[in-house]
C-alpha cells in the first residue's frame, strides 16, 4: 500500500518568509497528488492538485507545488507567507485508478505577524 511522508510536523515562520513543506510518497505507478489546507475551525479544503501535464502546479492563495517523479516528491511552496496562512497542511496521494487518497500526517504552520 502507498504511504505519504510529511517531514515537517511543525513550522513556525514570520510574515514574508518563504515556505516549503516536504511531501514524499511511496508508490511506483501513476499517481494523483493533492495538498489540502485546514484553517483553524474550518473544514479541509483543496489547495492544489496534480493529475498530469506540467509538474509545476499553481493553486489558490499564491501556493504552488512541484511534482518530481524521480524523487517521489510533491513539495508545497509559497514565496512569501502571510499571517492568514496559519493552518494545517496535508499532502495526499491517490494511485491512478484508485478511489482512495492516502494522507500524510500533516504539517502545522504558524505564521507570526
Amino acid at each position: 500500500a502507498q504511504s505519504v511522508s510529511q517531514h515537517n510536523h511543525h513550522v513556525i515562520l514570520s510574515e514574508a518568509a518563504s515556505l516549503e513543506l516536504g511531501c514524499n510518497y511511496s508508490y511506483g505507478g501513476t499517481v494523483n497528488l493533492f495538498w489540502y489546507v485546514q484553517y483553524p475551525g474550518q473544514h479541509l479544503q483543496l489547495l492544489l492538485k496534480y493529475f498530469s501535464g506540467d509538474p509545476l502546479v499553481k493553486g489558490i492563495k499564491g501556493f504552488e507545488a512541484e511534482f518530481i517523479k524521480s524523487k517521489f516528491s510533491f513539495n508545497l511552496r509559497k514565496p512569501s507567507v502571510q499571517w492568514s496562512d496559519t493552518a494545517e497542511y496535508f499532502c495526499a496521494v491517490k494511485p491512478g485508478g484508485s478511489y482512495i487518497p492516502t494522507f500524510g500526517r500533516g504539517t502545522s504552520l504558524i505564521v507570526h505577524p
Binding site: Q6, Y36, L46, K49, I100, P101, T102, F103
Partner: protein, 113 residues
C-alpha cells in the same frame, strides 16, 4: 453545486453508549463516500469507504461500522463506544470516476467520557 452535510458538529457520549454520525451529499449522484478519523499529529486515517449503496469497505478493524442505506447517505455507527473512539471524524465524497479530489464535511468532534 455539490454540498456535503455532516452532523452533529460536536458530541459527548458516555462509554458503552451507541453512536450514529450521519453524512449526506447533495447535488451529485453515485458519489464515492469516505469516513476518516483525524487525530492530532497523526493525519487522516481512512476508516471506511463506499463506491455504491450497500457497498462498504473497511480499512481498519475497530469498534465502528458504516452503512450506506441511500445513494448519498453515509452513516458511521458503533454499538458500544470506547474511550479510544474519541476523536474528530470527517466525512468526504468524490466523483465516482477515479481521477478526482475528495471534498470534506465540517467534521464531528466526538468525546467519549
Amino acid at each position: 453545486s455539490q454540498t456535503i452535510h455532516q452532523w452533529p458538529a460536536t458530541l459527548v457520549q458516555p462509554v458503552g453508549s451507541p453512536l450514529s454520525l450521519e453524512c449526506t451529499v447533495e447535488g451529485t449522484s453515485n458519489p464515492n463516500l469516505y469516513w476518516y478519523r483525524q487525530a492530532a499529529g497523526r493525519g487522516l486515517q481512512l476508516l471506511f469507504y463506499s463506491v455504491g449503496i450497500g457497498q462498504i469497505s473497511s480499512e481498519v478493524p475497530q469498534n465502528l461500522s458504516a452503512s450506506r442505506p441511500q445513494d448519498r447517505q453515509f452513516i458511521l455507527s458503533s454499538k458500544k463506544l470506547l474511550l479510544s473512539d474519541s476523536g474528530f471524524y470527517l466525512c468526504a465524497w468524490s466523483v465516482s470516476t477515479s481521477g478526482t479530489e475528495a471534498f470534506f464535511g465540517q467534521g464531528t468532534r466526538l468525546t467519549v467520557v
